[in-house]
């Protein structure tokens, strides 16, 4: 098969290699502001009211404890400089000399590896910083495009601000109180009107009850009256029945009725008998009081 026909799998490596293990397992520098801000956004750990899990020989923490920062210089000092055996090489045997030399070379390699890795991480950090700054600039630019300038904020009418708040002014406490009072008054007035109407009807019924037949004699009298051959009365009654059936009303009677109604409403009476107001005043003792005052006034003169 000609070369270049197929794509190389796994980047030319035989299979997928494991991830490279980091040379420094602990951080070599404290976190910068940008990293701290990113960390602050991550929500992790156990909440206050959540009990911690239990495991023998292990203590769970509520929040993640940060790994200690060990700088490269410190690491080199601790792992290489301080562990170098202080021996006089001239006093060592050939074999020991050889071992010492091997150890020296190993330490040298380790130091170089540390320093090289430090350089690499430094470069990555610098690149990251540049990237972050560029992103920040881009965001700033976007913000400038989206946000209105100070001049337009100050000059354009505040329609947006108007739309933010409620467009209807709510009633003040005093206005609300007045409206509530008015509503109560209205309700009470309708209630009073209804009650007065009822009382009027009751009074009317009371007055009408005087004509009710309540004993045998009255009944007898009424029967005789009803069957007496009083032609005039009979004809009148007949006429009125006919009229009623036709939907006509006796004009003279109608006139009399309306006359009575006017008279009643002027005097405050009910079918020629004391009306509700008079009854009320009598119960209150208002009429009695007026009469006495009038008498006193007359006697004075």
């Amino acid at each position: 098969m000609p070369p270049g026909k197929r794509t190389i799998k796994f980047g030319g490596k035989s299979g997928i290699l494991p991830r490279l293990r980091p040379i420094f397992k602990t951080p070599i520098r404290p976190k910068n502001d940008h990293e701290l801000a990113e960390d602050a956004n991550i929500e992790q750990g156990y909440a206050e009211n959540v009990p911690l899990p239990k495991k023998r020989g292990f203590k769970f923490q509520r929040t993640l404890t940060p790994k200690p920062v060990i700088s490269v210089e410190e690491r080199i000092r601790k792992t290489i400089d301080e562990t170098t055996p202080k021996v006089d090489v001239s006093k060592l045997s050939e074999e020991e000399k050889w071992k010492h030399q091997v150890g020296e070379i190993r330490r040298q390699h380790l130091r170089e590896a540390y320093l090289k890795e430090h350089e690499r991480l430094k470069k990555i950090d610098e690149l990251e910083n540049i990237k972050h700054e560029k992103e920040k600039e881009k965001q700033q630019l976007n913000k400038q495009h989206l946000e209105e300038s100070e001049a337009s904020k100050l000059t354009i009418p505040t329609m947006e601000d108007y739309l933010k708040g409620p467009i209807v002014r709510q009633r003040t406490f005093e206005e609300q109180t007045i409206i509530d009072a008015k509503r109560v008054l209205n309700r009470k007035m309708t209630e009073l009107e209804l009650k007065e109407e009822k009382a009027n009807e009751l009074l009317e019924l009371y007055h009408a009850s005087s004509k009710f037949i309540i004993n045998e004699e009255q009944l007898q009298k009424a029967i005789i009256e009803a069957f007496q051959s009083d032609i005039n009365k009979f004809e009148n009654a007949q006429l009125s029945v006919k009229d009623k059936m036709r939907g006509l009303k006796d004009p003279s009677k109608e006139l009399e009725r309306s006359e009575n109604m006017f008279l009643d409403s002027i005097v405050g009476e009910l079918n020629g008998k004391p009306g509700l107001d008079i009854v009320k005043d009598t119960i209150d003792g208002q009429i009695e009081k007026l009469r006495r005052e009038a008498e006193l006034a007359i006697n004075k003169d």
Partner: protein, 155 residues
């Protein structure tokens, strides 16, 4: 906000424009105000005034709970050579078919690409989008990278 109210608003404007009416009024509420403001900003309306049932206010009147029933929003309609500026006012979302688009879809629609059954944004046309409680033009929504319900298109 109700889509039925928006449909009523649209029908009312279209009816008025058909009869070459110069000013008309719609109920005074926040939703109508927001939509009308967008139309005014984009140049579809000549004026936007607060008023009562009798006409626009000559002296500013405060909107209170007592007079809200008689408050109206007066819109000035625009014409050029006897042709209305609002030629087309079409609902995209309906009460029976609400169209919620993702930020990517909104960006596509605003750049003129058809999304589902919706034709891409054409020149001289606006599409209004409801994002949360706010109503914004689709270009603005695309810039902000938000998602929302597309309401209507006007040209």
């Amino acid at each position: 906000m109700s889509l039925a109210n928006l449909a009523n608003y649209s029908s009312h404007l279209k009816n008025c424009v058909r009869l070459n009416i110069s000013t008309t009024s719609v109920p005074f509420n926040k939703f109508n105000l927001k939509i009308s403001y967008h139309l005014y900003k984009e140049g579809f309306l000549s004026s936007l005034k607060k008023g009562s049932l009798n006409g626009p206010d000559k002296v500013p009147v405060e909107v209170t709970s007592d007079n809200i029933a008689t408050r109206r929003l007066w819109l000035g309609l625009k014409y050029r050579n006897n042709n209305a500026i609002i030629k087309h006012f079409e609902m995209i979302s309906k009460p029976s078919r609400k169209v919620n688009l993702s930020d990517v879809e909104i960006k596509a629609l605003s750049s003129g690409i058809n999304v589902r059954f919706i034709e891409g944004l054409q020149p001289g046309e606006i599409i209004l989008v409801k994002v949360g409680d706010e109503i914004m033009e689709i270009q603005e929504a695309a810039k902000k990278g938000v998602h929302g319900m597309v309401l209507c298109r006007i040209r």
